[in-house]
């Protein structure tokens, strides 16, 4: 099993979720994060003092998938939907998952997803 962690622009979440659901990938966990990277935040002026906002609001999506097939599909969908060609589109990381359990039933691994 693999886990995808994608850092994306908040506005893209819904499109990704819908596309994943259509492809049969129906589980994910989402959280709000702040990103720091090449996208340098922006200059703001507040009461005459200007300053740099360095952290940019992002959304992190975590998806655990049971096989390579789903992994590839999910990555493709995210790449496709999160893409705007502008700096700050985000990153996809893939990690290994040793075990998965569905709390409700106790099912494990592939059945749990």
């Amino acid at each position: 099993m693999k886990k995808i962690e994608a850092i994306i622009k908040p506005a893209k979440l819904e499109a990704i979720k819908d596309a994943l659901a259509e492809a049969g990938i129906e589980g994910m966990t989402v959280s709000e994060v702040k990103g720091y990277g090449k996208q340098q935040g922006h200059q703001e002026v507040y009461r005459g003092v200007s300053y740099q906002v360095e952290f940019v609001p992002k959304v992190k999506i975590e998806i655990v998938v049971s096989n390579e097939e789903f992994l590839k599909q999910a990555i493709e969908i995210i790449k496709d939907k999160a893409h705007t060609d502008k700096v700050g589109d985000g990153k996809i990381f893939v990690l290994d998952v040793l075990k998965t359990i569905r709390i409700r039933t106790g099912e494990e691994d592939t059945e749990a997803l």
């Binding site: 002026v45 507040y46 009461r47 005459g48 003092v49 300053y51 906002v53």
Partner: protein, 397 residues
Amino acid sequence: MLDTGNTAWMLVATAFVMLMTPAGLALFYGGMTKRKNVLNTMGMSFVAFAIGTLVWVIAGYSIAFGEGDFIGTGKIMLNGITDKTLSGSIPELLFVAFQGTFAAIAVAIASGSMIERVKFSTFCIFSALWILVVYAPITHWAWGGGETLNFGEMDFAGGTVVHINAGVAGLVAALILGKRAKADAGVKPFSPILAVLGAVLLWFGWFGFNAGSQLASDGVASNAFLITNVAAAAGAIAWLLAENIMYKTPTLIGGASGAVAGLVAITPAAGSAGVDGAMIIGLVGGFVGFISVNKLKNLFKVDDSLDAFWVHGTVGIWGSIATAIFIAPYLMADDYNMGSQLVSQIQAILLTIVYSAVGTAIVFYIASFLGGGARVSEDDESEGLDESTHGENAINL
């Protein structure tokens, strides 16, 4: 003779002005503070009102409105005043309450310059002393019967007494306090929602402040009410337009600040300007505030955190001068002489600036000494004063 109509209006006007400090200013300032200092900022306005109220009836009123030339005396603890004593057509006890709300808001305005670093206990002591030593004497000269230091200035509702005075006091305190650790890093204001709500409550209360200063519900009070509203609206529009031109983003905090600037500007003129004058006073007031906060301020190195001086001070000066210039024909004395009036205005402004600066500095050092220091520790500042001073959190989600 007591007039029930005038008394009814002044009861309400006093309540209106009361609301300005622990609600209006508390929210206006609190909303513009960093999240970790919201409660401390609000707390300063709250406690300024509580302390101011007590200090005022104990001795402040006596100094401001007792008998005497340089300083008033004889009314400690409202000595000799009963429910039957009148001030004109209203009970003197009501006049005491009304004037007390002015003292409280003045020191609360100055708190805006000190936030995010001043020690709470020190500020509490400062509030009490400042009202007695700085605010009450200035009031005595302008309104309370002082003769030598009264220059015949026109200050209907406290442009000099309250706003210039408070602005200068804030600036001086900020100078002595020194900068916040990350003063130049900019701030995300906690919530423009609170700032706008606070500004609107200020606007609302200002009807009591300005139209109440007539101490009667008559034509002059009605004129004051209307032009107060017009100047606030004009100030808001001016600031929003200036922002739109300079930054392309008219902000809510800008609109709110502009309304406050318009209100500050019209305060001394509320008893004499007409609707056309009010429009000019308000528009220019909003613009002066905008330029002060966005340009002039950066020429100085004082960390006047919420711009008490750059709104109340500079715009207060504009308002005080404008008062002599824009007078409605129907409110102008027959022998009015603009030239000599301008001189009076400037004399009063200068007196206020000098006395407030010196008095504030002395009082602030004393308060720091008694309160165990002027600033919180660096750690407490970086943790935020809400947690370190009050053990509270603005919002627990």
